[in-house]
C-alpha cells in the first residue's frame, strides 16, 4: 500500500488537538464560523463520555494515535479517465467486476478524504440538484445547507458525533429541489486508504417538498493490520410530501471500528427509509434514526447484519414519533457465524402529545455456529392510548430438515447453508437495487462459505 501513502498530498499527521482542527480548517479554506464550530465540537467531544451500554467488544480507542485528515488531492476528479490508476487497481484487487467498475464510474467516490470522481454532477446540476461535498456545501451553498447542518445530529448527540463535527471532511451534501423526482439513485463509494487514517465523512441530504431521492453508499476497504476508526455522520431532511431512501452496504475490512450516527427528519406526510446492510468491520454500532416530526410522516428501517468470528454488529433503529398519525416499520435480520455477534438494539418512542401513531418492529436472528451470539435489545416507550405498537422477535438456527432437502437436490453443505441464509434475508435484500442485491448475495455466499468451509 506504499504507493497509496506516497500519493498523499495533505495530511494532518497523528493526534487530535486544536492544531489538528485548525490545520484541517485551513486546508479547506473554511470560514471562521466553521472553524469555531469545529473547535466547539472538540470541546464537546473531550467532555462527553461513552454511553454506559456500549458493548464490551469495543476496545479502548487511543485518539492520539489516529490520523484525522488525509487527502490525496485537493481538487476533486470528474471523470473515470482522470481517476488515478492506483484507485482502479484497488477496485480490481477488491474483486469488483468490470461491469460494476463501470457502474461505479458514474458515481461519486471518496478516495481518502476527498472525492475521487464525480461524473454525474453536471447532469444533476441541470435539474437543479446540488450534489457536492461538505466543503463546497458549506461554502458555495452555505445559505442552503447551513440552516440544517448539525441540527439533526448536533455535536452533543454522542461522542462520535462530536468527534466527527470537529474533524469531518468529505461526504456528500445533496439538495433536491421541490417536486423533482430523481430517477437515478445517487451513489457514493467510500474506501479507507492510508493506514490508521480515520474516516469522518459528513453527509447532509435535503429533499425539498414533494421531491424524491434514493441515495446509495457502499463501503469497502483493503485489509490493514492496525485499527481504523470510521465515525461518519449522516443527516437527512425530508420535507413535506417528500421521499428519501438511503441505502448502505457496509463492507469495511475487519479491523475497522464503524461507529456511525445517522438520523433523518421527516416532515408532514414525508417518507424516510433507511436500508442498511452491515457485513464488514470489526465492530459496527449503527442505529439509523428517524424523527417523525410532521403529521402522517412515515419511517422505515430495514437492517441486515452479518457477523463472523471476531465481529460485532450492533445494529438497529431509533424512531421518535413526534406528531399525530405517524407510522414506522422496523425490520432487522441478523446472521451470526462462528463466534460472531450480530443483533438488534433499538429505541421506539411515541410522545404523549401524539395520537394514532403506529409502529411495527420485527427482529429476527439466525445463529449458524455453536458459538454464534445475538441479542435483541429493544427500548420501547409509548405514551397515550391511541397508539399501536407491535414488537416481534425470533432467534433460530439452521433448519437441518431444510438443509437435507437442499443437499438431497445436489447442493453441497456450504451452498445449502448459503442459499438458506440468502433466503432468510431475501425479503430485505429485495429492497436493494439489483446491482447491490447481486453483490450482497455474493458477499453473503462468500462469508457463509468461508465459515462453513
Amino acid at each position: 500500500m506504499a504507493s497509496a501513502t506516497d500519493s498523499t498530498a495533505f495530511n494532518a499527521g497523528f493526534g487530535l488537538n486544536q492544531n489538528t482542527i485548525r490545520y484541517i480548517s485551513s486546508v479547506k479554506n473554511e470560514s471562521p464560523s466553521l472553524l469555531a464550530f469545529r473547535l466547539q465540537a472538540l470541546e464537546t467531544f473531550l467532555k462527553l463520555r461513552l454511553p454506559a451500554w456500549i458493548p464490551n467488544a469495543l476496545p479502548p480507542i487511543d485518539f492520539q494515535k489516529l490520523r484525522y485528515y488525509v487527502a490525496n488531492t485537493q481538487r476533486a476528479k470528474k471523470s473515470w479517465d482522470e481517476v488515478p490508476t492506483a484507485i482502479k487497481t484497488t477496485f480490481e484487487r477488491l474483486g469488483v467486476p468490470e461491469k460494476e467498475q463501470k457502474f461505479l464510474a458514474g458515481v461519486e467516490a471518496q478516495f481518502d478524504s476527498e472525492f475521487a470522481y464525480a461524473k454525474m454532477r453536471q447532469q444533476l446540476q441541470e435539474q437543479g440538484v446540488i450534489f457536492t461535498d461538505s466543503n463546497e456545501g458549506l461554502s458555495t451553498y452555505r445559505e442552503l445547507f447551513e440552516p440544517f447542518f448539525a441540527k439533526i445530529v448536533p455535536p452533543h448527540d454522542n461522542t462520535f458525533a462530536a468527534l466527527n463535527s470537529a474533524v469531518f471532511s468529505g461526504g456528500s451534501f445533496i439538495y433536491v429541489p421541490k417536486g423533482l423526482k430523481v430517477q437515478q439513485p445517487l451513489q457514493a463509494y467510500f474506501r479507507i486508504n492510508a493506514e490508521r487514517s480515520g474516516q469522518f465523512e459528513r453527509t447532509l441530504i435535503i429533499v425539498d417538498e414533494g421531491a424524491e431521492l434514493t441515495y446509495m453508499e457502499g463501503c469497502t476497504a483493503p485489509i490493514y493490520d492496525t485499527q481504523n476508526l470510521h465515525a461518519a455522520v449522516v443527516e437527512l431532511v425530508v420535507k413535506k410530501d417528500a421521499k428519501l431512501q438511503y441505502i448502505t452496504v457496509q463492507n469495511w475490512s475487519s479491523n475497522v471500528l464503524n461507529l456511525v450516527t445517522k438520523r433523518g427528519w421527516a416532515e408532514e406526510n414525508a417518507d424516510v427509509r433507511w436500508i442498511d446492510c452491515n457485513i464488514g468491520s470489526k465492530i459496527t454500532m449503527k442505529y439509523p434514526g428517524i424523527y417523525l416530526k410532521g403529521r402522517h410522516a412515515h419511517g422505515e428501517v430495514f437492517s441486515i447484519a452479518l457477523a463472523h468470528s471476531g465481529q460485532w454488529q450492533d445494529t438497529g433503529a431509533r424512531v421518535l414519533h413526534l406528531a399525530d398519525e405517524t407510522t414506522s416499520n422496523v425490520v432487522s435480520k441478523s446472521i451470526s457465524l462462528g463466534s460472531g455477534w450480530a443483533g438488534y438494539r433499538g429505541k421506539i418512542h411515541i410522545q404523549p402529545n401524539c395520537s394514532h401513531c403506529k409502529n411495527s418492529t420485527e427482529c429476527h436472528s439466525l445463529l449458524l455456529g455453536d458459538e454464534s451470539r445475538t441479542g435483541t435489545l429493544p427500548y420501547v416507550a409509548i405514551s397515550g392510548d391511541s397508539q399501536s405498537v407491535c414488537h416481534e422477535a425470533s432467534i433460530s438456527s439452521l433448519d437441518e430438515e431444510q438443509l437435507f432437502y437442499l443437499q438431497q437436490r445436489g447442493l453441497n453443505r456450504a451452498a445449502a447453508v448459503s442459499l438458506s441464509v440468502n433466503g432468510f434475508v431475501n425479503d430485505l435484500v429485495q429492497h436493494f437495487p439489483l446491482e447491490y442485491s447481486v453483490e450482497l448475495k455474493r458477499l453473503i455466499d462468500m462469508e457463509v462459505e468461508n465459515a462453513i468451509g
Binding site: D399, E400, E401, Q402, F404, Y405, L406, Q407, Q408, R409, G410, L411, N412, R413, A415, A416, L419, S420, N422, G423, F424, V425, N426, D427
Partner: protein, 241 residues
Amino acid sequence: MHDVLTVEGATLTKDTQSILKDIHFQVQTGEIHAIIGPNGSGKSSLLKSIAGHPSYALTSGTFYLNQQPINEWAPDKRAQNGIFLAFQSPNAIEGVTVANFLRTALRFHKPEQKVNATQFYQDLYALLEQVGLPKDFTSRSVHCNFSGGEQKRLELLQLLLFKPKFALLDELDSGLDLQARETVLQTIRTLQPHTGFIIVSHAMDFLHQLPLTHLYLLQKGRLVTQNPSDLDAVASLIKGL
C-alpha cells in the same frame, strides 16, 4: 448396463430408538419396487436413510451404489450420483425462489454444463405445465404456503428435471387429484427404462396401475418380500394389523 442400488443388512436407529432391522433388497434400473406397510412402520425412514438423512444412524449394514459402499457419502454426493427422494412433506424454504433453487441444484448435478438462463426458463415453464403448476411458481418460495397437492407437483417436477437413476417416492401420489396422479403414473412409466423406483404408497389402486416388479411389506421394522401379484392380499393384511 443396469445401475444397481443395494441395501444389505441395514439396521437403523434414530435417537437411539431402533427403526429398521436387517433390511435386504436390491433395485436395478428398470425395476419398480413398492413398499407398503402400516403407519409408523419405518417406510419414510428407510427412504430418507438411503438418501443420507443425518438423523438416521446405520448401526450395521451397508448401502451400495453399483457395488460401491455409500454409507459415508454426504446427501449431496448421493444426489449427484443419481439418488432422488421425493419428500412426503417437504420443508418450506422461505425467500428462495423455485427458479433460483432449481438452477442452483442443476449446477451441482451438471457442473460441466453451463445452465443457459433462457433455456432453463423454457424448460422450467414446460415442466410446470406438465405437472399442472402455473408459470408464476418460478418466483414463489420453495414449498412456502404450497397446498399439499402443489408440494407433490413440485416434487414430481424435480423427478422429471433430474431424471435420477434411482427415484425414492414417498407417497408422491397422495393428495393429488386424478389428473395429477395420472401424470405421476405416466412419469414413472416414461422414466422406467433408465430409472429404478422404490415407491412407498398407501393407495393400492395407484400401485395397481404400475408394472410392479417387486413388492415388500414393512412391518415392525422388518421388510418381508411379497409377490407383486398378491398386492390386494397383502394390503388387506395391513388393514387387519
